[in-house]
Amino acid sequence: MFVIIGIIIAVLLILFFYARQTIFFKPNQENLNHILTEVSDGIIECIGDVGKEPIIRLGLQGGYLNPDDDTFRLYNDTRISYLCYDIPKDEQCRNRMLLVSDMEFQLNDALKARILGCMPNIKSFSRGRPITIEVPNDLKVKTTIKIKDIDATVLYSIVIRSKDSQYKVQKGEFTKTFDIPLGDLYNAAHDIIDAETTSGDFDQLFYMIAKKADYKIYKYRPYPDKIYILKRSDNPYQFQFAVQGEPG
């Protein structure tokens, strides 16, 4: 008997909550904003889920997600890109010119494919509610690599209207910020490449001291190349790259 009563109460509660979400849903500005926030959170969560892996891989592979043959050194199972190529019989090397925009373009493509796979079903938010949701056919991704972090912005214009068109909310950009100091490490890498192209070597001791030990720079020498691994002392993210050498 009590079991049956319990089941009935549970069902009623479920119906109540469902009805509240649908039948009793008022399509006012506040509720529309609430739905937009839910959608936005879903998109940002999706970006957060899929965005970290390519960013980490970009750092481990020296700024290139898919390095070509003869442009990387295999070390510790990682294809570490050369950012400076050997000039025969010269201590200096030839700058490959990795730019921040190059990395941003690669991340845009990589993130787009992944984000498409985890995007929430936005139109399902209108199910059972007196609202319409307009979404574009395609989305764009814009990555901005800053000093301390990386912004991954999905450009995807969503418009939520009440069915009577009295209320409307819209949002076109959804940004997730990753606490990854890629820009900062890139600048340090640029300084290293500058030294390698000018004098053929880089002294990490003086550099780390000058920067008050904010960076940790490890230098490995798998013959005949060099590998630099850069980290900030307050962040575990790693940017590493290779400088091509030649046998003595």
Partner: protein, 1187 residues
Amino acid sequence: MASLIKTKAFFEIILVVMSIFFISSLNVSAQQPSEQSCCEKTKSGESCVYTSSENCDRRFKSSNEECSESSFCETGCCFNDDGTCSNSASKSTCESKSGLFNKGISCSSIQLCNKGCCILGDNYFMATKQQCQEKSNLYKNLKMEFNPDITDEFTCISQLQNKERGCCVQESECIYTDRLSCTEGSMPPEQSLVQSPWQQSENSQQASATGNAVSPLVNQQNSQQSNQQQNYIGTIFETGKYCSQVPLCGCKAKHHKGCYDGDVYWYDSCNNREGIAQDCDFSNNNLCSKDTLKCESLDCKTTFDKKAINGNDIVGYDGVPRRNGESWCEYDGAVGFGQDLVGSRHYRHLCISGEEFIEPCKDFREEFCLQATGKLQTFNILEAACISNRWKDCATTCNTAKDKKTSAQIKLAMQYDRTCCEDPMKSCFWSAANNENIKKISGDAQKELSSACTDLNSNEPSCQPGDYQSSDPGNGVCIPIVPPGLKFWNDENIEQAKKTEQATADPVKTCETAKRTCTTYFYKNLLTGYDWKKVNTICLKKDFALSAMSYCKSLGDCGTKYNIAGKFSKLAFKCETSDGPCKGNKHGLSYNFINLDWEKEVGGLDAYTKAKPLQTKDFDLNGYKGMGSPDNPYGLANMLVTSIGGIAGTVISGVGLLMPVTTTATTTVAASMPAITLGGEGALAGISGTGGAASGAATSVSWVPLFGILIALVVAAFTLVLQLTAETDQIDITISCLPWQPPYGNKDCEKCTNKEIMEKLNFDTCSEYKCKSLSQNCKWIPENEGSNRTSCITTNINDVNSPKIKPWPEALTKGFKITEFQNGYQITPSPEGYALVSFGILTDEPATCKYALEPNIKYDSMPADFGDVFIDNKHMLTLSAIPNKLNEIYIKCKDANNIANEADYLIKFKARGGKDLTPPIILSSSIKNSAVISGTSTPLSLSINEPSRCRYSNKETTYEQMENPMVCSTDSAINSPSAKFTCSTNLKINEGTNIFYFKCSDLSNNINKESYILTLTGSPQLKITSTSPSGELDLNTITIEATTEGGSNDGIAKCSYTLSSKTYLFNQTDSTEHSTDLPQLSIGSYSIPISCKDSIGNSADATISFKVTRDITPPNLMFVYKQDNTLTISTDEPSACEYSNKDFAFGSGTLMDGQDKDHTLTIEKTKYSIICSDSFNNTGSLFTIYP
């Protein structure tokens, strides 16, 4: 006739000779196809890459030279469009990124590249002017300033601190900042574009303290104050006040501490910085610690104390505390002057902020570590650097004296050699002759020489005291300070050989410079009592072999040496004598170079495991001046004995018959006689210091009184008797210097990685050079380099044992256990059906392993890898358990010697039926993600771990809403834990990007929540846009051509044509333009099908149609007539006609006058044979005319 034959023969000889030259020059000038090229652009879009020629995009340039030598990839400064500058950038790369290229100059000479202090609101950072402008465009509300006069970061950032600061009270927040930022409304710190290191730490402290960069006023506890704040509108800047001093803000003073600019500061409860709590001094190695919020020392409290293989302390100064910023050298053993262990390397250690870093110097000792003592305030610290080892000239360019013949030449050469050797830009050491040991050896040799001079009554100049003294302190020999490592092994594959190819450090050539030959001379005559006397006996003593080896070792990895594992190898010692074996007795002098106890002679391992560091007083990173050196007892001995031996040789070779006096004799013969003068002047044969050649000089004769003649005659007679009764002999000993060879038959390969350093400093010391030095059996695995897998493994060329397999319990999924039996184990308890189970095996030697589901399959035929493909000792696999079945996995492994197991190793487990609650897993697809597809559709199959039904769609949606079902094998009777159930379909592909979403549902209706996404690119269709020829052709040679467009590679394709049922490739193809010459075709119509295909299979077909209307009939004779002395013939078409008096072939006759239809000849004979041929090479038959 004879002359004709001669002429012909002569002509033929000339022809043959010329053709030889021609063909050989063809060979010389013929270009070998180059495998590697510099590509201006590769197919994947990279620019200026030196790679395989196949990777080059043919629309751009490529060159067989290195990129830096090609015009399109020459280097210079590139001013990028984001305002940064790239030094030594390639022209093509710069231009492809829209940069401004400045050829051949450094960016420091370009004003645009000069950095200054960029001020943007309250952000201060170093940037170029354009960079500063670019940033300013992003933050238009901030005022931008650029100060080019500030060129260092520290000065730039300290501008911030000099600004007038105070509490900025705004609508809902209080921020401690500068006036400008407050009045212009700068962005909150978390949105700062770029921050100084100190700003970053401040912000992170703020962020970590409260979770917000700035605490809004609404967080205040005092509600009354809060109400007041919420009612406030506007901006106030309270100059010189902390926000805790502004009642409106309601912030509590000195609430907590934080790090800022390396010091400890107070922060109020709103997270605004206040006064300094503890002033740390970075120059005194103190800095604010984020953990303790106190000034902590940055020094390294302990450092790694490296021990040698025999437990010796290599250097006495390591393992001690180090100051922040200090660096020092570490070695693997003794360093310099031939002592470096084979496989050893130098390292530079650093102490930075309490952490010890290792920077290895370049391998093969192409760099060595040099250190000096410096001063940091009142402290003495070490400073070290890795310096390029410029050793190549030491034993060659700076050792010219060894090739000189006369003592004068030797002396001069020595001076040059010493200057050359002591050049600070070289890494050489002048090993001088003032060593006591060398003096003793030299002294003994000189004594023997003097004795010979007396016994043989020689007047050689070198017999006189005061001439060339080999132990002259100015003399010496030049050797590398640090002998280089050499590649003393042959690579197993070409790719690996390319990586470590040392083009100029040929080990054989490097070592053979130290090859030494020494000759001991024997003589006897009346004065010696006919007992054998010896000169230069050092050659037969072990001292000579030791000195030869000492010099040999100093040149590199040559001769007899210890390796880094402490194993001695004498495999590279080679001795030869002119008498045969290197052991024997010659005229009472015994010698034995075969049984030398090398290890004892060189001082044992202990002598090579203690390093005296390479140190210089004048520390200069760009060069070095002056080096201390340890003793080197045998360094010069080998040179000295050679030089003395040479002199002795000349003396000994002077023994023989007396020659007549000459007036103008000048001889250069090894065994020439000294000319004797009868009193007065007389020049004797000149002496060469390295023995052998002698040159005579003119002598003169003068008359003397009679008494003098008598005495001279007596002396001459005596000398004659001496020389006639003298006998000589010699023995040559040659000690070769060969590249060092590692020892055999040991298991030292695992010592390549120093486990202690790996544990304490996470640094792997193993390299190919070190690995190969440990043993002949060591194999280098390049794929494992830098990973935690073994990169140096033991292989035994005589090893006949396959790897031994045993269980690896740690790899087993939790909750299971192993029950071992012979040659296998069982996993219990039974897992659920379709559950993923992980398990593993260990092998006693590095191996690769495979498995099958049936027994007794040979290793090479096994279908799947057990674990990954790397050679390793540990192997792990994860499989899905087939329900209601005994799952059996049969495993075999193969070692580095290619010896595989014969017997299977079995792992088994029984899986229960169980309730399947897990959705299916799509393991893989038959097409790789991001693949480029040709055509409008492509078959696809997915591998799934269990029987399922799958669907797909072009948009992300639920499984039920996916429109396209796939065809799946749901046969759960396929009994295989690794069985890949498949679902297949035919995907429609559009041009451009195609994204497909796949979801599956298993037989228990468990459905994937997340889609398996496949992105494919449909390549544009390949098209043949034009063909030729067409219409009517009357040519002999017909060329067919085609042009292609589209496809996966912008029209680049391979085309072929079919003629007479045979298909041929176009001669010019594999691009967008295709052409080929057809063989001669007869008259008629032709439709030649052509087919083109690109690299991914896009194809296009077309037909080339044309008609051949070429004339194929020869000219016909129309009429013949004779007029006066002229014979005229007419043909029916323009032609060329030839005649002769006998039968001939067209081409070998005499051409008749006239090219059109009429042809004439002057009648001289009674019979003419004529042949005519038209312009289409239709030749008629011969006809005869009797005029």
